[in-house]
């Protein structure tokens, strides 16, 4: 939990991964390019003293991840968003089964999301059913820029994708997180186009669509779509670290998001291990708008607004009872392991 001026901010990191880009897992040069590009993002935005070296960045494992996320209570909970990339990595970059290793150890701390790819056809449908059955997933991450054989991507408004969205609705998987963001080598820039969200969101009003990375560098297209589709949300992964070295730009982006989407549809995500939540949460919580931005947008990043962005909005989406979680976290395994008992406050002495 983050404390600011005596206020408790319950942090749910909406976007984390347990990835493996070790040399032995790479089966295509795209796999190496991909992790190198991630590392450019990492070093480009991380404060120098908090940078990792490339080897630890390739693979950090479940223990390190638990400590980075929760060890100093930077985040209280986290949502796993898998990224398969099985054409690049032998066992996948981070799959639901890999993420489950950790999510099942600390089920109270993690939300485990699955994934689908319409190009997998009937086998993909069966795997989606398996994911639901085995892990009772509520959401999926979709990666429209993923390479598969000769294909360099797919669209969420295609007939094949609609069949999968239909299936999600049938199975009760109602959160669709779509990666729509900055170019990542070697993926095709056009495959990150946000336009396909529009038709998908209006065709499936009972599903919620979280556009990860708020569509950058197509913030304008994203905001205009989200302004018209109430079931479209914006995930701040990759936009958030701009608060560190591009604070003015971060203020502008927050201004636009709050204007077009409002404070209930913006979700914090660190995109761990791109960035560590421990410094990122603090940086975002301390972000300030310039006087000019406050005038222009008529907004403040007030504690109430930040509480929503940092945790309450995801909690609403995933039916997480924050007060019950706080109670539970006074004595769960993570709290025991890292000695966080005091952090979550002593149990009420009058309680039984």
């Amino acid at each position: 939990m983050y404390y600011q001026d005596g206020e408790e901010i319950f942090v749910i990191d909406g976007h984390v991964h347990l990835w493996d880009a070790r040399e032995e897992n790479i089966i295509h040069e795209g796999g190496e390019e991909f992790i190198q590009c991630f590392y450019d993002y990492h070093t480009g935005f991380t404060p120098e003293e908090r940078e990792w070296d490339l080897d630890e960045y390739r693979y950090y494992g479940p223990d390190r991840m638990t400590e980075d996320l929760f060890g100093n209570a930077a985040a209280d909970m986290a949502v796993f968003q898998p990224t398969y990339l099985t054409d690049f990595y032998d066992e996948g970059f981070n799959t639901i089964d890999q993420n489950a290793e950790l999510a099942e150890e600390y089920p109270e701390r993690f939300v485990l999301n699955g994934a689908f790819d319409p190009r997998d056809g009937e086998a993909g449908m069966r795997d989606l059913e398996r994911q639901k059955e085995e892990y009772d997933i509520q959401g999926v991450k979709v990666y429209t820029a993923e390479w598969k054989g000769d294909s360099k991507g797919w669209r969420l408004d295609s007939d094949e994708a609609f069949e999968f969205l239909e299936k999600c609705a049938d199975l009760g998987i109602d959160k669709i997180h779509a990666h729509k963001g900055p170019t990542i080598r070697p993926l095709n820039r056009d495959a990150f186009d946000v336009a396909d969200i529009d038709d998908a969101a209006s065709s499936f009003p009972d599903l919620d669509f979280v556009v990860e990375h708020v569509g950058l560098p197509r913030l304008d297209d994203f905001c205009w779509i989200a302004a018209q589709e109430p079931n479209v949300y914006g995930g701040l992964a990759v936009a958030a670290p701009m608060a560190q070295n591009r604070p003015r730009k971060f203020g502008e982006i927050m201004g636009e998001l709050l204007f077009w989407l409002g404070e209930d549809r913006i979700i914090f995500g660190s995109d761990y291990a791109l960035w560590n939540p421990d410094w990122l949460v603090e940086t975002v919580m301390n972000a300030e708008l310039t006087d000019e931005q406050k005038d222009e947008y008529g907004i403040e990043l007030s504690p109430d607004v930040m509480k929503k962005i940092m945790g309450e909005n995801v909690a609403d989406l995933y039916d997480i009872d924050i007060e019950a979680k706080k109670e539970q976290f006074r004595s769960d395994d993570v709290t025991e392991e890292f000695g966080l008992g005091d952090h979550y406050g002593a149990p009420d002495a009058t309680a039984d």
């Binding site: 190496e32 590392y39 993002y41 480009g44 070296d53 056009d190 950058l216 560098p217 913030l219 204007f259």
Partner: protein, 260 residues
């Protein structure tokens, strides 16, 4: 030092730089000179060699291509220049782009695998730049005291860029305005073909339609959003660029596991 920049009736380096200043990064809508992309300008009689590099090696080949072609054409528009050659450095496709542009080949023949032709990509980026520039132009008119209705009704012929004035009330009243943002906007709205004659309505929705007075505020804010988006991408490119050229950058592995 003038001998190194001036030769035998050929162009001077400042002349060439002035032309290159008109070339924009199509995604950021900023001059390539301002952005620091131009590395060297070497006049050799009526031939000029220009070398440039971009912040990221994987910047879209289509964008790099547009900048190279625009740079070549702008420099060749100088009367004293017969041929301009353009060299792109430190890009994943630098040799293809340099060779293709100097051979005056087409983008499609140079990159047969590319999705979409360069003209349609250029058109969509021009359109974004048009909306982004509209924000500053609208601000200038609001600052000058025009009403929403007066602004949305303005036609191209109501605007005099020579003296920075707009004429309202059927041309009977002239109001002095900040010329620069209007001139920049007019350049793009004409380049996108939305305004061709004097009677065409000057300001448009992002979709290209005239604006009704009651939607002025919304269109104004969408113009601001387009502007914020364009400048935002530049910030990400900058950060990646700094990371890429960091002297402490670790070695990479090739696909076979060997350090490269």
């Amino acid at each position: 030092m003038s001998s190194s920049t001036h030769n035998d009736g050929g162009p001077s380096v400042p002349d060439v730089r002035e032309r290159l200043d008109r070339v924009t990064d199509p995604e950021l809508d900023e001059s390539i000179v301002e952005l620091g992309y131009v590395d060297d300008i070497t006049p050799r009689g009526s031939t000029v060699d220009v070398t440039f590099s971009l912040p990221t090696a994987w910047c879209s080949p289509a964008f790099a291509w547009m900048m190279a072609v625009d740079a070549r054409d702008e420099v060749e528009s100088l009367p004293s220049v017969e041929t301009a050659t353009v060299t792109l450095r430190d890009h994943m496709h630098d040799s293809e782009i340099t060779e293709g542009v100097n051979a005056r080949a087409s983008f499609a023949s140079t990159f047969p695998d590319a999705d979409g032709d360069v003209a349609s990509i250029r058109a969509s980026l021009d359109d974004k730049a048009r909306v982004g520039r509209q924000f500053e132009a609208l601000n200038a008119l609001v600052d000058a005291g025009l009403t929403d209705r007066q602004i949305v009704e303005l036609r191209r012929e109501d605007l005099s860029l020579d003296d920075g004035a707009v004429f309202v009330r059927d041309g009977s009243v002239g109001i002095s305005v900040d010329r620069e943002p209007l001139a920049e906007y007019v350049e793009k709205v004409e380049a996108t073909g939305l305004v061709e004659t004097g009677s065409d309505v000057l300001f448009r929705t992002p979709e290209g339609d005239p604006i009704s007075p009651d939607e002025f505020d919304l269109v104004h804010k969408r113009s601001r959003l387009a502007n914020v988006n364009m400048t935002g991408q530049g910030n990400i490119c900058d950060a990646l660029n700094e990371a890429r050229f960091d002297p402490d950058r670790p070695e990479t592995y090739g696909p076979d596991g060997e350090e490269s």
